[in-house]
Symmetry: C3
Subunit: 346 residues, 3 copies
Amino acid sequence: MLMTFIGVPLSVIGSLLHWSNIVLFIIYCLTIVALASYMGRATESLAIVAGPRIGGLLNATFGNAVELIISIFSLKAGLVGIVLASLTGSVLGNLLLVAGLSFFIGGLKFKRQSFNVYDARHNSGLLMFAVIIAFVIPEVFSINMNETKTLSLSIGISVILIILYLAALFFKLVTHRGVYQPSTEKAAHEEEEPEWGKGKAIAVLFIATIAVAYISEHLVHTFEYVGETLGWSELFIGVIIVAIVGNAAEHASAIVMAFKNKMDIAVEIAIGSTLQVAMFVLPVLVLVSLFFDTTMPLLFSWQELIAMVSSVLLMVVISNDGESNWFEGLTLLAAYLIMGIGFYLL
Amino acid sequence: MLMTFIGVPLSVIGSLLHWSNIVLFIIYCLTIVALASYMGRATESLAIVAGPRIGGLLNATFGNAVELIISIFSLKAGLVGIVLASLTGSVLGNLLLVAGLSFFIGGLKFKRQSFNVYDARHNSGLLMFAVIIAFVIPEVFSINMNETKTLSLSIGISVILIILYLAALFFKLVTHRGVYQPSTEKAAHEEEEPEWGKGKAIAVLFIATIAVAYISEHLVHTFEYVGETLGWSELFIGVIIVAIVGNAAEHASAIVMAFKNKMDIAVEIAIGSTLQVAMFVLPVLVLVSLFFDTTMPLLFSWQELIAMVSSVLLMVVISNDGESNWFEGLTLLAAYLIMGIGFYLL
Amino acid sequence: MLMTFIGVPLSVIGSLLHWSNIVLFIIYCLTIVALASYMGRATESLAIVAGPRIGGLLNATFGNAVELIISIFSLKAGLVGIVLASLTGSVLGNLLLVAGLSFFIGGLKFKRQSFNVYDARHNSGLLMFAVIIAFVIPEVFSINMNETKTLSLSIGISVILIILYLAALFFKLVTHRGVYQPSTEKAAHEEEEPEWGKGKAIAVLFIATIAVAYISEHLVHTFEYVGETLGWSELFIGVIIVAIVGNAAEHASAIVMAFKNKMDIAVEIAIGSTLQVAMFVLPVLVLVSLFFDTTMPLLFSWQELIAMVSSVLLMVVISNDGESNWFEGLTLLAAYLIMGIGFYLL
């Protein structure tokens, strides 16, 4: 990806020379997408070197590092609305767009594709917990609460979400490692080799993270102008644009995996990523926001909440049988399109 | 059915002589029920002659022709509320009453009845998509939208629904025909013989459609008087009465199939019919309404929406295992009764 | 349990001498817990003597006798809010706390535990019916109804719930007894021996019921003072405290069963108890309230309703595969904790 070597200097120069916000917005977005793919590869290499347990933890924390960084700068700038919108978009994008494209494109090549049904059900349970319980409860309870209580509830739920997320890693990587997997799969995992050595991976991760952080800080400030110029609402920028930029790397790799009929990995990227955002990135941001001027309670707009709830219900029903085909993919894509139109018009 | 030969002339004479609206209402309803069964048989015969692909398409379009016709005349008369109510009623009636009676009556004869679990899951996905996504999203998003935007969203969703419905037919009849069926079933399907020849079937379909159209136009105008006289609300007439009249033919055949232990067909009629209404009849009506004075956005009342959402969730959970018994039927019937009481009191 | 022989006299003396309400509240609660365990053992013994059919009926009616009694006295005192709250708490407590602890503690000992998947699905259908249909519909329909109509709807739904509950017993104990059970289980059930004889069991049941009734009447009157003193809201007392007191016996026995790897029984206690409350205790109370000054329509607060709806959806997804592990238990417990915090802050 040559993009990185052009994009990063361009971003720095552009921001110093105060180029047009639209141009900067596009440069920033493309550069972040390129950097994200580097970070993904570095994390992947480190994870293989570190072994499955620490590797899983690394993946879990760095997998959505880009989103976390963009969000922290947005929070610092007081853009709570955009942060919640972009996390909503990340959930919708991973659940409907990434999984939808994987199912659809994989399904064009293969008539029926199957994935580990136990993992699918484990993930369904977590999706229900995170979205239907942890996001819905503060929304409904805060109706009769003042701000302080709403914030207390948000903090409590955030802590519970993070603990349960760590417990899920512990469950998957320690106590129940391989319990729900067919033995053939276990063997296949052993062979992987890291793309980069430990030193190079850490260096790439370190440099790319700093670059993403620098660009993110500037990206955030272009939102307002871009929205005004193109007539896009804050919600649409957050839910659709930022979400696609922040998750571009995942999109690409999930679809490649689906095309190779490795549906287990494709589904894991799509749903695993959703869970990372919902159960780790979001609650961490709620807690981080306590150190900023504007705190962020766990309160989505009703439109965001219902969009997530209905997507989760659709995904749970569709993924429950451990099989996919092109039509299921198309259904998810159609759902994403409906949400996209909805947020655009809002 | 002698009813047709008496009912049609009676309807014409009655409407010319301005008989009491209650009497006319009853004559119209019974005649439509009789004509609907003729249309059903004609469609069935044509479908067999035309082969499974075109036949499936024919069934899909003419299967709910009666409802479509009644609804278009209601729309022309500006009765948007009654149209949405009758489509809600059609969804509830097919999901709860038709399937409930099939499961219950079939279950009285057989201890456990089973149907194709793949079809059931495919249908569950579509039900979730249509009701939980396509109907819920405009309801929640329109809260913060003006009328023009709500209509744009409705049009977009309607187009997506129709495309996905056609894609589902393509999936079932072309790319995945027989993929999810046990081989024994495939053989059984070959033997069917059409009841009527091609010419007779087309003639019956043509004449019956015209007769239904004529009567429907008059039926629509009796609603107001009937409601006032019997103390029934517009909602109750739409959700319960019109829905039962419009779906009487399906009711009868689904129950007969269940009694013969052909649960695949019974379920297909009940849920397939629901999907036709939700993904084809309704969006077509939204688009057709653009040519009339009163446009119809995809906005149900909250009561209608929640009734459909909860029915779909119940049906998904109950049908998910591909088995039925009398108690599952009774549960669906009890749910229908609760909705019936609710709409009556509203 | 020595607690009973000290608790009952203490309760009587305390209430006569007008001890501090907090002290009385604690004595009453502990005594009821002790008495409940006696009633449970008496019911169990009677059920074995009476055979599975009458026994099932006995369990169904006396299983939640304590809750029914406390609630009737609360209703008589006009505390409709507390009754609905405590029934909500009973549903949440059984679904999330009892099942969660069973799954978690059982899962600490066994890697994978399984229970009858047919029963789990049967119960899922009933949970959906009771909570998603019978509780949600009056909530949404009553928005546009006056009080009389809301009460009529509540009465209608209550009657339907009771009939369906009895039908479910008929289904399980008569028409489909053993149909969905592996043959090994059937054999195991024959051996049970009653702990107490018929006469002793009836005597214990009779005396304990009177004692519970006496104490409950006094317990109800301490709620207000306890709430004021400890800063607990009526909702929190109802949903969390009363629910735990009323269901302590079930909690203990479900966990013991899970620890013995008898997950069928643990799940039956947790979910069966939820269904008893939702489909029998609650509708009976609605009907009983017609004889009191303050009638109780089937109307929960939105917070209570959404808490129950989301818990049911979570449980349906988690229990659907007929397997459990410690992490699924932890997920349920985390959900209970979130609800607890929510109701505490409300």
